[in-house]
């Protein structure tokens, strides 16, 4: 088994870990760079505020799914290098969520807290998105090494298992928002189902082994 894992690691990416880290960092930053470039050159179309909102929301969910792919990659292919950079990936997901919410609060609603609060209470897709935001914020706030020590490993792990719910709520936020074309939200839901399914399958195998 161990030789198998070694082979996988060598074959998959014969690149020093630091290079992989920077490559992934760059990939996560690329959509944001594209967005800023488009905004500065007027490439966001007739309704730029909506375009920014959609773009940041799409990438927040996609990068959250990338983060949730780390464990399945280890369980299925024995890849360990993604595990080492999971914090960086998770913080990028948080960054896109935070920018998505900032755009909604500061630009789309222009700090109309009354309307924002009513949206959160009345519109279930916004309720789901808001709860996902609270979860991912808590995870980002406890993402530093000291937090694990202070909370204790068990409590920290329990808290960070909430990321599954952030994924589920993120997908619900998406599918409850669209008007009629469900294709893209369904693709995201299918990917999430595979990523969570791999974990369930693995846990059942361990349990019945």
């Amino acid at each position: 088994m161990s030789t198998n894992v070694d082979t996988m690691n060598r074959l998959s990416f014969s690149m020093p870990y630091r290079a992989k880290w920077w490559l992934m960092f760059g990939l996560m930053a690329a959509p944001l760079a594209w967005l800023i470039g488009s905004a500065l050159t007027g490439g966001l179309g007739a309704n730029p505020i909506e375009a920014i909102n959609r773009f940041l929301g799409d990438w927040a969910l996609r990068i959250l799914l990338v983060t949730l792919a780390v464990t399945p990659l280890k369980l299925m292919f024995g890849l360990t290098w993604p595990v080492r950079m999971r914090r960086m990936l998770g913080l990028w997901a948080f960054a896109y969520v935070a920018l998505h919410i900032t755009n909604y609060v500061a630009i789309d609603q222009f700090f109309d807290w009354g309307d924002i609060w009513r949206d959160i209470l009345k519109r279930k897709f916004i309720t789901a998105g808001f709860v996902a935001f609270l979860i991912i914020s808590a995870l980002a706030a406890t993402s530093w090494n000291g937090a694990i020590k202070r909370m204790g490993v068990q409590a920290w792990k329990r808290l960070h298992k909430l990321v599954y719910w952030a994924g589920v709520l993120g997908c619900l936020h998406y599918i409850w928002m669209v008007k009629a074309d469900l294709r893209e939200p369904l693709i995201h839901i299918a990917i999430l189902a595979v990523l969570l399914g791999v974990r369930v399958y693995h846990n059942l195998r361990v349990y019945y082994a």
């Binding site: 179309g45 007739a46 505020i49 309307d115 949206d119 519109r123 279930k124 009629a180 074309d181």
Partner: protein, 320 residues
């Protein structure tokens, strides 16, 4: 009398590149680039550089209408590149990208149902006897964005009178072309195709209701619903059915596409109403395309004086 003798180096008026050709150049280059790219890729789907529709054909004999507004017009490029026309795709830019080769000539409209003059009319014959007008209307989408659009069209009531509906005609139903070869969005069942819409007869006869065939004084581009589409400025945009091929006079309320798709969210009437929320978002405010701040949405989109009487005594929260 002043006689101007042009110097040999002076250009005459006829030498100047007409504005429409100059403006079309970019689009032409884009189309040509697509064809070259398509050719390299060995694709047979390459885009025709000489598209069915080109910008700049002015509509003749159009008069100004009393229906206008001082509000700032939404720029032509926004009006024609930010569209909901699911027959050409569900993204706002899809209709502009996918409708370039849409054939709007020849075009016929079938008139059917409770009417004395049924038949299949060429769209030109249907419109020709009536006065075309420039009308500047506010346009409010159910998604909470809005525009101000200078349409060109004919009062629907004039056409209806000529067609002579019978006394049993209480409603009027409209149908969009169903042609998945030309309308790629129809290959997926995002909505039931063809798109259908309808009005109560008194709504259809209201002088505000327009059968539009142009924007900005020019022939309407396909992505906006050429060759004819409906404009009902006090209703949400989705009531304004595009690329109409059939008009039926009916006794009963006809089905309407978005209502069939999501009856809780979209009613038959779909009057602009800031007090009745869409179940998933408030309709109290709107963002005018090009503006940073949202503005309050007006009851009946600001056309209450002309249309409020149509709904007196009706519970508009129930008949949304």
């Amino acid at each position: 009398m002043l006689i101007k003798i042009p110097k040999s180096w002076q250009l005459s008026e006829s030498d100047a590149t007409p504005e429409n050709i100059y403006k079309e150049r970019r689009r032409f280059m884009k189309g040509t680039a697509a064809v070259i790219t398509g050719g390299i890729a060995g694709s047979l789907l390459g885009r025709d550089a000489f598209a069915a529709w080109v910008r700049g054909e002015k509509l003749p004999n159009v008069v100004q209408s009393q229906y206008t507004t001082d509000e700032e017009l939404t720029p032509y490029d926004d009006v024609t590149q930010y569209n909901n026309f699911y027959e050409f795709g569900t993204n706002k830019g899809d209709p502009y990208d996918n409708a370039l080769d849409f054939k709007t000539k020849p075009w016929t409209v079938e008139i059917a149902g409770e009417v004395n003059n049924p038949g299949i009319y060429d769209v030109e014959d249907l419109l020709r006897p009536h006065q075309m007008e420039h009308r500047i209307y506010r346009h409010r989408c159910v998604e909470t964005w809005s525009m101000v659009v200078p349409w060109v069209g004919v009062t629907l009531a004039d056409i209806i009178k000529r067609l002579e509906p019978t006394s049993r005609a209480k409603y009027i139903a409209f149908e969009t072309l169903h042609d998945p070869k030309q309308m790629p969005g129809q290959n997926r069942n995002v909505l039931q195709w063809p798109y259908v819409e309808g009005l109560r007869m008194d709504e259809a006869m209201n002088p505000l209701t327009l059968l539009a065939t142009g924007v900005y004084g020019e022939v309407m581009p396909p992505q906006n619903g050429a060759p004819i589409r409906l404009i009902i400025p006090w209703k949400y945009g989705f009531k304004g059915i595009k690329s109409i091929v059939k008009i039926t006079f009916t006794e009963k309320e006809p089905p309407t596409s978005w209502n069939v798709s999501a009856p809780r969210e979209y009613g038959f009437y779909a009057n602009v109403n800031p007090e009745v929320s869409h179940p998933r978002w408030s309709q109290a405010k709107e963002r005018r395309i090009g503006s940073f701040f949202k503005q309050p949405t007006l009851m009946f989109n600001g056309y209450g004086e002309d249309v409020a009487h149509l709904y007196s005594g009706m519970d508009l929260a129930k008949y949304f």
